[in-house]
C-alpha cells in the first residue's frame, strides 16, 4: 500500500525489462489493428523500409511506460495524465527497460509527478515521458 506521505522526490519506481518477440509484436499489432509490415515482415522491413530489423512499435513502448507507473501505484490512486514521445527506433532482439522517478509531490492536492523513460541496452533514453497520478 502506497501512501503519498511516504513518497519522496527522487525516489525511483521499480524498473521492468521487456524483450519483445516476433510473436508478441504480431499479437500487439493484431490487437491494435496495425498492418504495418515493419512489425512482422522481416524481408520487407530491411529491403523496402531499410530498417536493420523488425521495428518495436513506439506506442507499445508508451504502454510499457504507463505500466511502470500503474504497477507502482496499484489501486492506491489514479492516473491523471500521461505523456511520452518516441525519439529513436528500437528493433527486435533489443531488451528495453521502463524506468521512472518521482519529480514532484503535492501532498495538498494528493498528486505525484513522475519522469519516465524507456532505456535501451546502450543506456540511451529512446522514449522519454511523464505522468501525474492522484492518490486516493
Amino acid at each position: 500500500m502506497n501512501r503519498i506521505s511516504a513518497v519522496k522526490v527522487g525516489a525511483t519506481l521499480p524498473e521492468r525489462a521487456y524483450t519483445a518477440t516476433n510473436v508478441s509484436l504480431f499479437l500487439y499489432n493484431a490487437a491494435i489493428w496495425n498492418g504495418h509490415r515493419i512489425h512482422y515482415d522481416a524481408r520487407y522491413t530491411t529491403e523496402v523500409e531499410k530498417h536493420p530489423e523488425i521495428v518495436i512499435d513506439g506506442p507499445l513502448q508508451g504502454d510499457w511506460l504507463s505500466q511502470c507507473v500503474l504497477d507502482w501505484l496499484g489501486e492506491d490512486g489514479d492516473l491523471v495524465s500521461f505523456e511520452y514521445a518516441n525519439r529513436r527506433a528500437a528493433y527486435l532482439g533489443e531488451t528495453l527497460t521502463a524506468t521512472g522517478s518521482v519529480t514532484a509531490v503535492d501532498a495538498a492536492a494528493g498528486t505525484v509527478t513522475i519522469e519516465l523513460g524507456i532505456r535501451n541496452e546502450a543506456g540511451q533514453i529512446i522514449a522519454p515521458g511523464a505522468a501525474t497520478v492522484r492518490f486516493r
Binding site: Y18, A31, I32, N34, H36, G62, D63, W64, S66
Partner: protein
C-alpha cells in the same frame, strides 16, 4: 517565418473529423493486455482497459483494398503542405474515468494548430491534434493532444 503554411492550409485549423463511435469489448481488452505484457488482474481479466488501450481502439478498420503496400491505411487528416514526410511527435493524455467493457465511446479529432519551426536540418511543420473521447451521454473519458511533425 518562411511561409510554408499558406492560407488554404491555415484554414484547416479548427476542423474536426466526423466523430467515431466504438464499442469496448472485454475480449479486446484481454488481447491487448496479454500482448502488452500487463501484470494487473483488472487488465488481464478485461475488467478495465490499460490507459494506452485507447490508441488501438481508435485505429481505423479499413477494407483490405484501402491498405497501401506498407500494410497501413492512409490517414490523411491534414492539409496540403510543401513538406511531405510525416512523423509521429509526442502525445499527452488526460484521463477522466477508466474505460470498461460495454462502454460505447464517441471520439472526435480536431486539428488544433499548425506551426512552422526551424529544425536543425531544415524547416519543420508541427500539426497539433486534439482528441476528445466521451461516452454517448457526453461524459468526458479521455482527452489527448498529439503532435505530428512534417519535414
Amino acid at each position: 517565418m518562411s511561409g510554408l503554411i499558406d492560407a488554404a492550409a491555415r484554414a484547416w485549423i479548427g476542423r474536426s473529423q466526423p466523430p467515431v463511435t466504438v464499442e469496448v469489448s472485454r475480449r479486446d481488452i484481454q488481447k491487448y493486455a496479454v500482448a502488452t505484457e500487463q501484470r494487473q488482474a483488472r487488465y488481464l481479466n478485461g475488467d478495465e482497459a490499460p490507459p494506452m488501450f485507447l490508441f488501438g481502439l481508435l485505429r481505423p478498420v479499413a477494407p483490405l483494398d484501402q491498405l497501401g503496400p506498407d500494410g497501413i491505411a492512409q490517414d490523411s487528416f491534414l492539409p496540403e503542405l510543401p513538406l511531405k514526410r510525416i512523423m509521429a511527435g509526442g502525445t499527452k493524455l488526460t484521463y477522466h474515468r477508466p474505460i470498461r467493457p460495454g462502454d460505447i465511446l464517441v471520439a472526435t479529432r480536431t486539428l488544433a494548430d499548425i506551426q512552422e519551426k526551424q529544425g536543425g536540418t531544415g524547416p519543420l511543420i508541427f500539426l497539433t491534434y486534439q482528441l476528445r473521447v466521451e461516452t454517448q451521454d457526453g461524459e468526458l473519458v479521455v482527452e489527448e493532444t498529439a503532435t505530428r511533425i512534417v519535414r
